[in-house]
């Protein structure tokens, strides 16, 4: 790849972000900033019970309150056929409850009023009579004979949603029976919530005169959402415009369609005025897409020297009241079958069962390509357990089992074809950065003195960037993505994509791709996403897919433009196309570099002085369907010290070496890694959406669902290695999710390592001081 000048700012330059000036001055435009004339406000009435029969809803008192315009109930929606809506994964969920409620904080009625305070007051006046039903909280009891059947709407009178398996069970069992060593870990990846700092919300604006419905929406996938509103709501698609404005973080939370959106749309259609609905933080944590809640068992079969031979995985997935996973329709457990990770197994078998419980619906991918996080956590934990059993160093067991660089493209026993990798290179770099050998010496000295210190390694492999479209779809729509570029007569450009940034810096990185391919300075390229009226169709931003799909589409569209530009340059220079050479920003005549035409000259000619018979303009569009996914990887190392008196764990150092192939903007990649590691820290040590035996949420506010502050967060140390993707147009892989995927295992491995000499092999997350303190008490360790 030709390196561009800093002025052009193509691939590899750490240019400052183009989106920053508006955010720094309070001029961002988030959904709650949208203020339309005549706008009114919606407020949700929610269930206090986890499982209860709905006896009656009395809206009379609420409607009497001055300023209240409407109270919508499930029965009202049922008349329009909208009491239920499809989820993004082979299920449906209630928009507003009819018959009964199935989780605490479930949506029961939607109050619309002229003022948000009045709407909240009126919600208090809605009288709902419930009759409590037995509650099912523990997913392990969901299939017990006496368990209450939660979903009366389903033909199948059971709480079992699906069984899914992949790999060769018999062949794996055979290897297990013949292997000298086996190891096992039972690990729960607890229920988490992405909790972007901006909650979910919308403004639905139906104009009766034009029949157009504008929806300003916290959406990671505006085009897909438009199509779903059209199909489910029966609204002609050309009359729907979804605008996803600035988004205050998504992390997967803003992929599904939520009942509040549907209610706001129904209210606007009914009242003919714009209706705003913005959820509170507590509503966000209690009712919108949770992640994980995977109850996993992994077994490894190995030789005595630690050479891995086979893996077996059995998992119970708790989906809550509705299977509201947002993932490709052929994959009930997403891409969980990447669970063989960075290691070369001869055989593997993986099975997953999903069940319903009286909890909020979901199973969404929190900064994760569809269950990759659970998979990476499981294999990286399991390998450490085996190493501890064999008294091997975790570095040695990894090195012994890494898929070697010569084996790529590598076909995994569970069916994936890894594009490229050099795992030892990333691990070696991380070990050098952290000073591994010295740390092990220090640990031995500390142990001798009774002090607790641990070192944890995670050498993860991801699978990101879905499509290809023949295998991956969301609600039937193939997972390609798109870019349209228009070069203006003055040589500046606008480009639009089917993805949608939520903080990832697309306005900068996509402009750098255009700059790289066309030589138009990134500063001269405006990037626009999120408006379905103007952007080409695409599936949106999640699963680390923007660079692998829309990024690729941007390069391909730019190359189409360059092909046309070459014809124009040949015309202007009166030479044959074959006589021209390209350097970023201009075509010149071979052997006569002074005879050249810049991309700006060519752009002007595209509108003023074309070759005979050529169409005017300089534009292109590409819908890119990737031939494979990309497989980023890396090694993370966590070093912790444990306070024996309190059980508090302090992360002393953390090194992250990532390999995402060729990098567009190293500053942005590093920022993504910092952010994801902080989320991983929170998951490992702080966060859990728990439920008591009555289905009451523990962890439903920021008082109980903890987000680390700057004080708890270590100063991350990062680096990269570069193993390009062989199939991506510029050799890039996704990176945004790697730190969330790879880090939980590193954190947990470091705590377990600190306690391994006491016989500890596993601790479930979140590893709170209380949990560690109890273990220390059991093991007789005192301060």
């Amino acid at each position: 790849m030709q390196k561009t000048s800093l002025e052009i700012g193509g691939m590899g330059h750490a240019i400052k972000r183009k989106e920053d000036p508006r955010f720094l001055q309070g001029k961002g435009n988030y959904v709650d900033d949208v203020h339309l004339p005549g706008m009114v406000y919606g407020h949700m009435v929610r269930s206090p019970y986890a499982h209860a029969r709905l006896k009656s809803i009395n809206t009379a008192e609420a409607l009497k309150l001055p300023g209240v315009l409407a109270v919508i109930t499930g029965e009202d929606l049922a008349k329009a056929g909208l009491a239920w809506m499809p989820t993004l994964f082979h299920d449906k969920q209630m928009v507003l409850a009819t018959g009964k409620v199935l989780f605490q904080s479930q949506e029961v009625a939607f109050v619309v009023a002229e003022d948000r305070y009045v709407a909240a007051d009126a919600a208090e006046l809605v009288e709902v009579e419930y009759e409590e039903l037995p509650v099912l909280v523990d997913p392990h009891k969901a299939r017990d004979p006496g368990a209450p059947i939660l979903r009366e709407d389903r033909e199948e009178k059971s709480n079992h949603i699906f069984h899914w398996e992949v790999g060769d069970r018999a062949a794996s069992d055979k290897v297990f029976s013949e292997s000298a060593v086996t190891a096992r870990v039972d690990a729960v990846f607890q229920r988490c919530h992405p909790a972007p700092l901006e909650t979910c919300g919308c403004v639905a604006d139906f104009n009766r005169a034009t029949s157009r419905l504008n929806i300003y929406l916290t959406s990671q996938a505006p085009h897909a959402h438009r199509t779903l509103f059209a199909i489910v709501g029966g609204i002609p698609e050309q009359n729907i415009r979804v605008v996803s404005p600035d988004i205050g973080g998504g992390f997967g939370n803003k992929v599904p369609i939520y009942p509040g959106y549907v209610c706001a749309v129904v209210a606007s259609l009914t009242l003919g005025v714009p209706v705003k609905w913005i959820e509170t933080r507590s509503e966000n944590l209690q009712s919108t897409g949770f992640a994980r809640d995977y109850h996993m068992t992994a077994e490894l079969a190995a030789d005595k020297d630690g050479k891995l031979r086979a893996m077996r995985v059995n998992t119970l997935a708790d989906h809550g009241a509705f299977n509201a996973a947002a993932q490709p329709t052929k994959f009930p457990a997403g891409l969980f079958s990447i669970c063989t990770g960075s290691y070369d197994f001869a055989e593997a078998f993986c099975e997953v069962d999903g069940v319903y419980t009286n909890k909020a619906p979901g199973g969404i991918a929190y900064r994760c390509s569809f269950r990759v996080t659970e998979a990476a956590y499981l294999i990286e934990r399991a390998v450490d357990v085996l190493a501890a059993d064999l008294k091997m160093d975790p570095v040695e067991i990894r090195r012994k089992n890494f898929i070697p660089p010569s084996h790529f493209p590598y076909k995994s026993p569970l069916g994936w074809t890894y594009d490229s990798g050099d795992y030892d290179k990333a691990m070696t770099k991380a070990l050098e950065m952290i000073g591994y050998d010295d740390l092990r010496k220090e640990q031995a000295e500390k142990r001798a003195k009774g002090e607790l210190m641990g070192i944890g390694i995670s050498s993860f492999t991801e699978i990101v960037g879905a499509g290809p479209g023949h295998t991956f779809d969301i609600a039937g729509i193939k997972m390609f993505d798109s870019c349209e570029i228009r070069v203006h007569p003055t040589g500046k450009a606008i480009a639009r994509m089917g993805t949608k940034s939520q903080g990832q810096g697309h306005e900068t990185t996509y402009a750098q791709i255009v700059a790289q391919e066309l030589g138009i300075p990134a500063a001269d390229v405006l990037i626009e996403e999120g408006d379905t009226d103007t952007a080409p169709y695409g599936l949106g931003t999640y699963a680390s897919r923007s660079t692998p799909t829309s990024g690729a589409a941007t390069a391909i569209a730019a190359r189409k433009i360059r092909d046309k530009a070459k014809k124009i340059a040949a015309h202007l220079l009166e030479v044959s196309e074959d006589d021209l050479e390209w350097e970023p920003g201009k075509f010149f005549v071979k052997g006569a570099p002074s005879k050249s035409k810049t991309i700006q000259d060519i752009a002007f000619a595209a509108y003023t002085n074309l070759p005979e018979g050529m169409e005017a303009g300089l534009e292109a569009v590409n819908y890119y369907d990737p031939p494979n996914l990309t497989f980023p990887f890396g090694t993370y190392i966590s070093v912790v010290d444990i306070d024996k008196g309190t059980g508090a764990v302090k992360v002393r150092r953390f090194v992250a070496v990532d390999d995402c192939g060729n990098i567009i903007n190293p500053m942005i990649v590093e920022g993504q890694v910092h952010g994801g590691l902080t989320e991983g820290l929170a998951i490992a040590f702080m966060q859990n959406i728990g439920y008591d035996e009555n289905g009451n949420i523990e962890g439903g506010t920021f008082m109980d669902y903890l987000v680390p502050t700057a004080v708890e967060t270590p100063s991350w140390e990062t680096a990269t290695t570069c193993t390009p993707s062989p199939h991506h147009p510029f050799g890039a892989k996704g990176v945004g999710e790697s730190p969330n995927v790879g880090s939980p295992a590193a954190f947990v491995n470091s705590v377990v390592d600190a306690l391994s000499h006491l016989g500890v092999r596993h601790i479930d997350m979140p590893i709170t001081p209380w949990k560690v303190w109890k273990i220390l008490q059991e093991k007789g360790v005192t301060a």
């Binding site: 920053d20 205050g248 507590s282 942005i668």
Partner: protein, 161 residues
Amino acid sequence: MAKTELVSIKVNGRERQAPAEPRLLLVHFIRDVLQLTGTHIGCDTSNCGACTVLLDGKPIKSCTMFAVQADGAEILTIEGVASKDGKLHPLQEGFKEEHGLQCGYCTPGMILSSYALLKENPHPTEEQIRWGISGNLCRCTGYKNIVKAVQYAASKNGQGA
């Protein structure tokens, strides 16, 4: 709606007056009444600090105060941080230069907390910066670059900034 009272607040150097019902939160007064939407709301338990503004020079969470309580006060919001001619404040420059923001949602509150910190302590240590912004949550950056952004601004202190 309850009876309203006239609230007078000097916001970003300009006198503003508007009626507010007694329980109207200051953050809603700023966002909905004055239409200064740079101040954000990220939680309902006073944890996140996205709504941080300076009230008579002190950082406060504007979701945790009624508008009527701010009657007669002087408030600085993110819209008033840059100079009148549009030149960015060193903190704003620092956040851009050091990549101290991603989605931008926590940024206004972060900048105002940092602004108050640097007024009180122009050359804070890293630890003092981390404590100084500990009332503001960020879900994107992992704080390291925010710390660097504040250090960037601190390095401009004493250089006329």
